[in-house]
């Protein structure tokens, strides 16, 4: 334990920050106190302190309030302070309601239950083995293979029924917790390992079944608590004394880790992963300093310590293969770096081509990252920066607080991969085809930029691209891609409503409703699904609820083609008027004039306008939106 003096000092710091209503200060203090001493009293202290500045958290840090309902069969109350604190550290403020011990089925099935009435945005389903698969230990011990299989199937089917029933009546995001593999069983370690239907294998199979089930339900994510338990040691994960006396399924020592796991898992349903990793070179991508040690002197390759860096390079390569863009941000001479990549190619897991952008110069690194954000048309909150130099790290933290900074441990290079994997910023529940192709798409972007500089007029350039827009239902985008677009598009997003999969399905199913995406390709490549619109019928009007376009394709007329498509579909369905809405945010200024640029006129809805929305209308009986002539359109006919 840290000294009591340090604890008291950190507590004072938090108290001062709370008194000043300094949200960032209080959060930073809480982070340090929990890192120094995660004892229950400290956790409760932080929970109380942070709950006291809820408004400041929202106003200063944009902390998102989440109405959260816990469906449970075990005691969770003592864990709630840890959950609340971990949530704030991840920028969520949980409004928690806890269900009854024995009523989970009723809560999920009954449209009149306390769960249904609470109307949560997030539901955590935390059930124990006894509830989900109580017969399993006995069946496995008896060795009845067929019965074990049947029991697992039935458990998954029961859970499927509960989840589907709840999903049909609610758009809340759902987290379903799996089971921890029991550590002490009557079969013993050898039996568990060798018998075909041991409890260990049965629980693994059940967890796989539940995870697969979550994949078939919109806005539902599986929480693999066994993975966490295994990390700490399953024997220590649960305190049998407290479980049997108070139904506490996790030992108090691990409340923090458990809460972090829950938050990390549900976060993936509310925010998009970061997209770019900027890495430093010297003592980060390789060992040593290129300028001093020369290409032969830097450490990389199969021998220690070079293999530590090789591990990091392989990790980056794997990130790249699922669509995370890699960039170099290094103070070096570009020619020297090229030479190093050539000379040491056999010892490096990455080549210069692995990076979509290079900032190898002597400028401020914050400036380089800002330039990258502009060139790649991405927000700074999509960036991760890895560097071994504490001063560089601190400079980027200060100048670009949106960027996630990871300090590489230069003295312990073997720890870098571990440190990186502890960070939640690349977490994704789905990896879509568009993610995987993104790296190629950004390379194509660079070629387009080259062409643009060689062709005269803008129209000529756009025509030479040969852009094709294909429209299709958002349900086939696939749906996960549509949700992803809604979750992460900020700049060209007219209303910035983070609609869920279930809500998209509602738009698609409603009479006169639209849920459409646009898939774009041109002669340089396939940009994939990059735009989306949701609209609903209201009287004789078609009201556009959401319209957005990925920022990497802005400025090619695709937004006009998308709007034209929505207008045509609306007219075809008999709407006489098309209504657009704009809600200003810090980031979406680029589309503020979108509707007026397309001939819409501003109006104030009947009954006045109490929200931040600005409304626009277009008479569909007398006018239509024209799609740009350089764009070929596919899929306009139903």
């Amino acid at each position: 334990m840290q000294s009591d003096a340090e604890r008291q000092e950190l507590r004072l710091e938090i108290k001062d920050a709370v008194a000043r209503q300094d949200a960032a200060g209080a959060v930073a203090g809480a982070r340090r106190l929990l890192a120094a001493s995660g004892k229950p009293a400290d956790v409760q202290f932080c929970a109380t302190a942070l709950a006291g500045i809820a408004d400041a958290l929202r106003d200063q840090l944009g902390t998102r309030r989440l109405k959260t309902y816990v469906v449970r069969s075990v005691t969770v109350e003592p864990i709630l302070p840890a959950l609340a604190v971990e949530a704030v550290l991840a920028n969520y403020l949980l409004d928690i309601e806890v269900g009854g011990y024995g009523s989970y089925a009723d809560e999920l099935l009954n449209s009149d239950s306390s769960l249904a009435k609470f109307k949560p945005e997030l539901v955590l389903i935390l059930l124990d083995m006894e509830e989900i698969a109580g017969r399993l230990p006995e069946l496995c011990a008896g060795g009845g293979g067929a019965e074990v299989e049947r029991e697992i199937e039935e458990c998954v089917a029961r859970m499927a029924q509960l989840l589907r029933s709840y999903r049909a009546g609610s758009t809340a995001r759902i987290l379903l917790q799996g089971l921890v593999i029991p550590d002490c069983t009557s079969l013993g370690d050898v039996g568990e390992a060798n018998l075909p239907h041991s409890l260990t294998k049965a629980v693994q199979q059940l967890n796989l079944g539940l995870a697969a089930l979550c994949g078939t339900i919109a806005d539902c994510v599986f929480f693999d608590v066994d993975r966490l338990a295994a990390r700490t040691g399953r024997a220590r994960w649960r305190d049998a004394r407290m479980f049997l006396a108070s139904r506490l399924a996790v030992a108090a020592e691990w409340f923090g880790a458990y809460a972090r796991g829950l938050v990390r898992t549900f976060s993936t349903m509310f925010r998009a992963p970061r997209k770019v990793l900027c890495t430093d070179l010297d003592n980060t991508l390789w060992g040593g300093v290129l300028g001093e040690d020369g290409p032969e002197g830097i450490a990389t390759g199969s021998a220690f310590p070079g293999n530590c860096y090789l591990e990091y390079q392989k990790y980056l390569k794997q990130l790249s293969s699922r669509g995370i863009l890699l960039a170099i941000v290094s103070k070096n001479n570009e020619d020297d770096v090229r030479e190093a990549f050539n000379v040491r190619a056999a010892d490096l897991a990455l080549s210069m081509d692995s990076f979509v952008a290079l900032k190898i110069n002597w400028h401020e690194k914050a400036e380089s990252i800002r330039e990258l954000a502009r060139e790649l048309s991405l927000g700074l909150d999509s960036f991760v920066f890895v560097d071994d130099n504490a001063v560089e790290c601190e400079a980027v933290r200060r100048q670009l607080p949106e960027v996630a900074v990871v300090e590489a441990p230069a003295a312990e290079p073997w720890r870098l991969v571990e440190i990186l994997s502890e960070q939640p910023f690349f977490d994704a529940v789905v990896v879509t085809g568009d993610d995987v192709h993104r790296v190629d798409e950004y390379r194509a972007q660079a070629k387009r930029a080259e062409l643009a500089s060689s062709v005269g007029s803008r129209d000529e350039f756009l025509a030479s691209l040969g852009i094709v827009c294909a429209f299709q239902s958002a349900l086939d985008a696939p749906l996960a891609r549509a949700v992803q677009l809604l979750a992460k598009t900020n700049q060209f997003n007219l209303t910035t409503r983070r609609r869920s999969a279930a809500e998209i399905e509602e738009f698609a199913a409603a009479e006169g409703g639209q849920a459409v995406v646009v898939r774009v390709r041109d002669r340089f490549g396939n940009a994939g699904v990059v735009g989306l619109a949701l609209a609903r019928r209201q009287g004789d009007s078609c009201v556009i609820d959401s319209l957005l376009l990925s920022c990497r394709v802005i400025g090619r007329g695709i937004e006009s083609a998308l709007l034209a498509h929505v207008g045509e579909e609306a007219a075809r369905a008999g709407a006489k008027r098309l209504v657009g809405e704009f809600i200003a945010t810090k980031k979406n200024a680029p589309c503020a004039e979108f509707y007026s640029d397309h001939g819409f006129t501003r109006f104030v809805p009947r009954g006045g306008n109490s929200s931040d929305s600005v409304f626009y209308e277009l008479d569909l009986t007398s006018s239509a939106i024209t799609s740009p002539k350089w764009i070929t359109v596919e899929g306009n006919e139903k």
Binding site: P40, F45, E253
Partner: protein, 82 residues
């Protein structure tokens, strides 16, 4: 240590858990006299004390330790230097 006064560390710990000011943590304070000291808060207090002093209570005793004086006496009995 007598039951007349509550040790500083226990007082501060219980003040955190019950979210009250330390002066209010008197030996007489009990589950019966404070609404927020319900069975869940009690469990939380027990876990916090176990974590702080490195002890484990006998689960049979836990439901009986429902006042500050009793908690303190139990800790003294277990040989904790408060």
């Amino acid at each position: 240590m007598s039951n007349e006064q509550v040790s500083t560390s226990l007082r501060e710990l219980l003040a955190d858990i019950f979210e009250i000011s330390p002066e209010l943590v008197t030996p007489e304070l009990s589950m019966g006299t404070m609404d927020s000291w319900d069975s869940f808060r009690h469990l939380q207090a027990i876990l916090a004390i176990e974590g702080e002093y490195g002890v484990q209570f006998d689960p049979q005793r836990i439901p009986e330790l429902t006042s500050v004086a009793r908690l303190q006496a139990e800790l003294v009995k277990m040989g904790v230097a408060l």
